[in-house]
Subunit: 640 residues, 2 copies
Amino acid sequence: EASFEASFDVVVIGAGHAGTEAAVAAARSGASVALITGALEQIGQLSCNPAIGGIAKGTVVREVDALGGIMARATDLASVQFRMLNRGKGPAVWAPRAQCDRGLYRRAVRQLLEAQPNLVTIQGMVARLLFDGTGERVSGVETLEGRRFGARAVVLTTGTFGRGKMHIGTGTQISGGRAGEASSVLLGEQLDALGLTTERFKTGTPPRIDGRSVRTRDLELQHSEIEQFDYSWSHFWSTPRANVVDCARRTRHPAQMPCWLTMLDEAGTSIIATHLAESAMYGGAIASRGPRYCPSVEDKVVKFPDKAQHQLFLEPEGHDTSELYVNGLSTSLPAPVQLTILRSVRGLEDVRMTRAGYAIEYDYYPPTQLSSTLASRAVYGLYFAGQVNGTTGYEEAAGQGVIAGLNAARWVQEREPVILGRETSYIGVLIDDLVTRGVDEPYRLFTSRSEFRLTVRQDNALARLGEIADGLGLLAPDEQAQMGLRLGAVREAYALAERTSMTPAVADPLLLAVGSAPLQHAVRAIELTRRQDVSLQTLFAAAGVGDALPVDAVVGAELEIKYERYFEKERNRAIRLKAQGSVSLHETLNYEAMTTISIEARQKLTRIRPATLAQAGQIPGISPADLQNLLMELRRTLPE
Amino acid sequence: EASFEASFDVVVIGAGHAGTEAAVAAARSGASVALITGALEQIGQLSCNPAIGGIAKGTVVREVDALGGIMARATDLASVQFRMLNRGKGPAVWAPRAQCDRGLYRRAVRQLLEAQPNLVTIQGMVARLLFDGTGERVSGVETLEGRRFGARAVVLTTGTFGRGKMHIGTGTQISGGRAGEASSVLLGEQLDALGLTTERFKTGTPPRIDGRSVRTRDLELQHSEIEQFDYSWSHFWSTPRANVVDCARRTRHPAQMPCWLTMLDEAGTSIIATHLAESAMYGGAIASRGPRYCPSVEDKVVKFPDKAQHQLFLEPEGHDTSELYVNGLSTSLPAPVQLTILRSVRGLEDVRMTRAGYAIEYDYYPPTQLSSTLASRAVYGLYFAGQVNGTTGYEEAAGQGVIAGLNAARWVQEREPVILGRETSYIGVLIDDLVTRGVDEPYRLFTSRSEFRLTVRQDNALARLGEIADGLGLLAPDEQAQMGLRLGAVREAYALAERTSMTPAVADPLLLAVGSAPLQHAVRAIELTRRQDVSLQTLFAAAGVGDALPVDAVVGAELEIKYERYFEKERNRAIRLKAQGSVSLHETLNYEAMTTISIEARQKLTRIRPATLAQAGQIPGISPADLQNLLMELRRTLPE
Ligand SMILES: Cc1cc2nc3c(=O)[nH]c(=O)nc-3n(C[C@H](O)[C@H](O)[C@H](O)COP(=O)(O)OP(=O)(O)OC[C@H]3O[C@@H](n4cnc5c(N)ncnc54)[C@H](O)[C@@H]3O)c2cc1C
Ligand SMILES: Cc1cc2nc3c(=O)[nH]c(=O)nc-3n(C[C@H](O)[C@H](O)[C@H](O)COP(=O)(O)OP(=O)(O)OC[C@H]3O[C@@H](n4cnc5c(N)ncnc54)[C@H](O)[C@@H]3O)c2cc1C
């Protein structure tokens, strides 16, 4: 292999969110890794919104983190605004979401990559895969610049760059992988020639505006909650954080920035309705499907014509700029129309648009062509992760990246593959959904996609996956020690809850305060914690124990206690549901009337009309929650 | 003008070093300004080496700064390694040079731009200029995305993007304005159609390497001298600096980083010689001319075949990466050959190449098509600045940017144009050279290009140009105050030098220590300061005066005193030279033998054979120093 400049166990193509995690996971597995990407300065670029996390996604970030990944760590170094979503609902569905300084996020990812032993980064556009003598197993890659690198396995994570074409209105089409960046063409042509199935999806991004031109006084201000949150368990600092930016010293979050809320109302939606034919997506310029759950504003107006208002968040882009990201206004209307829409919005009457939104169409590879390890079934040694598998979202990309990277390394090392079960993680759900059911529109995670949404939570990611990660050899000694401390403290809090007896005299005032029944006799704290709204922290305080335990640990133990009995329930329900696969679905069923199931499911069931519940479960986008609800709807309509 | 989204006095196209300064200068002049550029995140990108300054260039940076520009300020916020070049020679030729953290430089430029009132930044590629009814005066611009902005004047600063084509070896040609970025095509086609003369130049960049793969122990280490230097006079901090990065608080330099020296020797040069035909520049892929004074390593090997060694500097790229820039190894050889060359170098035996070097060909507009204001003579309201005028270098671009921006604003405001004389500044020399003599290869500044190289220095930029800037209304009140303090302190030190009498008893020990003659009687400090190697600081200390004066100010006064008498000499010599324009140059003169003049001048005189000294002075690249030396050579050969 004299013609290779260098040879690696694993070569990862693309340093987006899938590629960076794949590279780190493979390197942590002991493989030698090269991460080859279009532009080193763009490593870790957030292509669309500057936020990491959200419902289900936030849990994935912590799962990636538990597996030794970098997304959570980079976010902690770059986040300028934090919210715990769903705080109003139970802690089972709390979802962390952090807005990041885009430039600091890139810097943090680059630093974290370079801190990883066994991993090198190389700038270059991969033009083709190289094969060994048999022609069936990858042996390396060649870049556009004419550099050849040997690889025993290759992970392909080229995101939206595969023959990417950007659209603004119906008249403007610019070839590129992201605004200002070149697309990847040759590699796609080779994959076609190899016989892989290629399809096209689209996605879009909103315009950005100049914060200095916003009447922020007229808008609702949202402050950050950052003081309370670290995304990663792996840091050695403790809250509250100072406003220092010095990544080299494992520092804390940068200074926090506010964001603002406003509304697209009647005035704006009617402009959109009027100009619909000029939208790339509705005017015929783009045929491919876009993400249902990150819809364009055109989609929102068409699909919900009666909705009077659509919420818009104005999110900071970073400390180096007053630019704001207009979350909720993804569009491919002509730029002048975008500006008119913006100016119809309260607070944006005089706004300046710093960049126009656009849509992008790109290649993806239907993921049913992959095994559960994310390996191609057609080409030995080739793995796929991220947007190329038909998903959308940084977090979904990162989650796949970890698994593809791990499996690529372990395949080279002739070790057992890693497949996470649906009951262990959202990553498990994601990959299982992809490879067994495929996608018919860009795939996004939701809590409803998981059968285990009460017990697979953001707060217990380390408990669920930390031991697995350690067993796979992914953790460094200092991380093992840190994990031991963190999990040990939760166990200690749990044990203390088991040990501590609460007398009626001590407990009753607390119970009554949250509307819970008073005690007849002394009861262990662990029992009381299972009651709704009863906090373990408060019980400990009343009992005068547990002062020395970290708050995080007590909260963690409380959630374990509150939800532990659900795990068996969730698992049993999942098994039952599977057993009921033979239940037949009559072809006259009126799915549209079944309002307990999701709109997506109703539409697909109506269109596809599966014969059995098992077949329904194979339809991409129909979640376990949909199936459960469908069964309930059937029961309701059937005679007992 | 209903079709314009917004209208501005001045629209600047491109946010490289010319464009950012043009925008700031126009905005400071009171014009409303839009700066439209390909990618907002790339604002202030350093396309090639991460250093600002150097011989003559460092002086320009301080001139730009004195005129209210941002380059020096951004450098102070981003520099991680500083050297004062030529310290061994007299202070007249000292030249500051700062290496920057590339990412922090971009952040700093963006922040400084956004801190400027009257200035907005917009992302978009300008596709064409718009004209008023007469068809002769620009009225605005339209972007590829279909946005139209009104403009009373337009400054074009599109750098290397005009139909940019990148080359690696003879086989790889990639269209683009810079690695990973799209080129600008439509605008160039329109300018052709308008009848402007377009030509092509080329330039190149070296490979980058992974610092972790360098045997730094085998190399000479160079530490930064930063503790002693601020590029800008406008800051309100004072040395020494802390290692804090927080641009929002007008902070100090980031933590400093080392760089390393090594050599390309025999082994490397022979690889280059062997592969010469595979170089884009020598293999025929590129026909256009490259920069003589930032030559490719191929050029160096071809032109100086006997030189055994070529110095290479390994310069840090920033705190977020261990990548190093290999200064001195610009090349368009095939990537695998680049790696072989690198590995032939001491310390780089196992080096990993993170990116390959490449050459780029681009459009430029011969600057003799411009007036001294940098306005196009063909199109009303259109100004050109930067690389598009056939120059090379960030600093040359910035200097032109200031003048083009100022003049565009002032033209709109119907105020007098600003033309800096050659005796006031290197910027004056630069623009005078460009518009009167044009360029026949990429133009770079040198001290020899100026007739006033002893009195136009980096240390006195504020004294030379501060009042002019203030007179043009470019300074904010706090800056006026700061300038007053700075110049006042120098004047005070000067006055003190005039007032202070040095007795032989006090002065002689100091004079003897530097080999200067002892005194017969008391003499004023100002007189002694004119002597070689005598420091005013030391005289003050000996006399027990001037303790309260800032060190900078005393050094400034010292240099004023040392060089003030040269100004008249330099001016007279320049006048004399002009008067001698009619001296005829015989066509048999053997220029090659005239070793006191530069190689460039010898070559051009031999080729062009001008009839008179005045004609020789019109040849691009023949400097005042060359003319003076030519005159001396003539005198030597002629009978008295
Ligand atoms: C305009 C736009 C709007 C979007 N909107 C949304 C949204 O609203 N919601 C949402 O969830 N997601 C959105 N996304 C998608 C989001 O960016 C992706 O989900 C996420 O970035 C996927 O990560 P990835 O790692 O798969 O790919 P990417 O982040 O796209 O990274 C791909 C990487 O591969 C590199 N690369 C590509 N080709 C090659 C090659 N041949 N050789 C070497 N390197 C190569 C690129 O340089 C890049 O670094 C949007 C993306 C874009 C571009
Ligand atoms: C590969 C390479 C090697 C180089 N090597 C050297 C060297 O060795 N020594 C040296 O002194 N100099 C070198 N340079 C040149 C140096 O980069 C330039 O001198 C300097 O950047 C010029 O500044 P500028 O402002 O004129 O242009 P640039 O810095 O090139 O900036 C141009 C700007 O215009 C924008 N733009 C372009 N077209 C459009 C459009 N149609 N609409 C909107 N925006 C547009 C771009 O996005 C960019 O922001 C090199 C440049 C390159 C690319």
